[in-house]
């Protein structure tokens, strides 16, 4: 995996016309770009088109990046921006509301433990798809490879650095609740024992005031 200090020489080499350096950058960062685009809610052909737009932009801008060592941050920021452009063009709402606080049910630790033991990755993805949109975005960014720094994430999501930690905590609690519900299918979405009522639809659109 690429170390942050390795990005700079690759970017400079590619800017100088080195195709192999470009291929290496694609190899290292295409997964990161994909994570951002999937986190913003696109999939399939639309996601592929946004990825392509981002990489075309990167070719155009590679010889003028201000901070060559922060290529990952540049790619993540551009991917998010282009993702939102596509969503707006097709009339879809872009959620910028903050993430509501919920309590994480205590019994989830056992659910998480069981999933880890069973290596049930599908269940994690399903639950991830049911939490507020901003959480999906943040958690995807925070688990992307190669890792983004808090500064990179703050820049990409256009939030203060101090927003990230507490929001991550809230988002993980949303995920715990979704996992607990999926693990107990007999219970309705408004009766998971936590005493907190879910928004209609369970996830996705959050209608709080803007941050």
């Amino acid at each position: 995996m690429l170390q942050p200090e390795e990005a700079r020489p690759l970017v400079l080499a590619a800017a100088g016309g080195d195709r192999a350096a470009w291929d290496r950058l694609v190899e290292e960062f295409s997964g990161l770009v994909w994570s951002v685009i999937r986190g913003c809610g696109l999939f399939g052909a639309e996601a592929a088109d946004v990825s392509q737009t981002v990489w075309l932009r990167f070719v155009e801008h590679i010889d003028r990046l201000r901070e060559a060592e922060r290529a990952g941050a540049w790619l993540a920021t551009t991917a998010r921006h282009e993702c939102f452009r596509v969503m707006r063009r097709s009339g879809r709402q872009v959620v910028t509301a903050d993430v509501p606080e919920v309590a994480g049910p205590d019994e989830t630790d056992a659910v998480v433990e069981a999933l880890a033991v069973a290596e049930d990755r599908g269940a994690v993805l399903v639950a991830l798809g049911r939490i507020p949109a901003r959480c999906q975005e943040l958690l995807r960014l925070m688990t992307a490879e190669p890792p983004l720094s808090y500064d990179d994430i703050a820049e990409a999501m256009n939030v203060p650095r101090g927003w990230i930690g507490p929001t991550r905590g809230r988002c993980l609690n949303h995920l715990r609740r979704a996992l607990a519900q999926d693990a107990a299918p007999g219970r309705g979405p408004d009766d998971d024992g936590s005493g907190i009522r879910h928004a209609p639809g369970g996830s996705g659109q959050v209608k709080e005031a803007d941050r």
């Binding site: 016309g17 195709r19 470009w22 291929d23 694609v26 190899e27 295409s30 997964g31 994909w34 999937r38 592929a48 088109d49 990825s51 392509q52 737009t53 990489w55 075309l56 932009r57 990167f58 070719v59 155009e60 452009r85 596509v86 707006r88 063009r89 009339g91 709402q93 872009v94 606080e101 309590a103 994480g104 049910p105 205590d106 630790d109 998480v112 433990e113 999933l115 880890a116 290596e119 990755r121 599908g122 994690v124 993805l125 991830l128 958690l139 995807r140 925070m142 688990t143 490879e145 930690g165 507490p166 929001t167 991550r168 905590g169 809230r170 993980l172 609690n173 995920l175 715990r176 936590s194």
Partner: protein, 160 residues
């Protein structure tokens, strides 16, 4: 119950599960990686890049859902004294482009090329004011190339 966003035990384990799950089951498709590699072939070193400065799609009224049928999307590309403005109207998968290059190119250089990512380039004539139009373009990623009085310019790629 554990309240709010305070860190709690198991957070890192859960983050690890997300990392594994997305890496294993939502990895970037090979064809997307291949397409990213191929973006290199569009590298241009002999033209000035004019960036997309404004896209009416990103305006607040577009955000509020005012955008309806027959809406014209306005794009402005610029760098230094170069400016290219384009208006795009949609008809299903077809696009109509009307635009202007400023400052207008000299008499010997009155063309603008629409590069299409999926292949093919369309050469359009510019009038004496630098205006151009193209009808029935298919939707997709495009960029514009021209030569104005200052030299060669190429726009950023944009999906139309």
């Amino acid at each position: 119950m554990t309240a709010g966003g305070a860190p709690r035990e198991g957070d890192e384990q859960l983050m690890g599960l997300i990392r594994e799950a997305t890496a294993a089951q939502d990895a970037v498709p090979d064809r997307v990686v291949e397409a990213a590699r191929e973006a290199w072939t569009w590298r241009t070193v002999d033209a000035e890049l004019v960036a997309l400065l404004h896209d009416s799609t990103m305006d607040d009224d577009a955000l509020a859902g005012v955008r309806g049928a027959g809406t014209v999307r306005a794009l402005s590309f610029g760098a230094g004294d170069h400016m290219i403005e384009v208006e795009i109207s949609e008809d299903g998968d077809r696009r109509r482009l009307v635009g202007q290059v400023m400052p207008p190119p000299g008499p010997g250089e009155r063309t603008i090329v629409v590069d299409r990512l999926d292949g093919g380039a369309l050469e359009l004539e510019l009038d004496e004011l630098g205006r151009f139009e193209a009808d029935r373009l298919s939707a997709g990623l495009v960029r514009l190339r021209t030569t104005d009085v200052e030299g060669r310019v190429v726009t950023e790629w944009v999906a139309i």
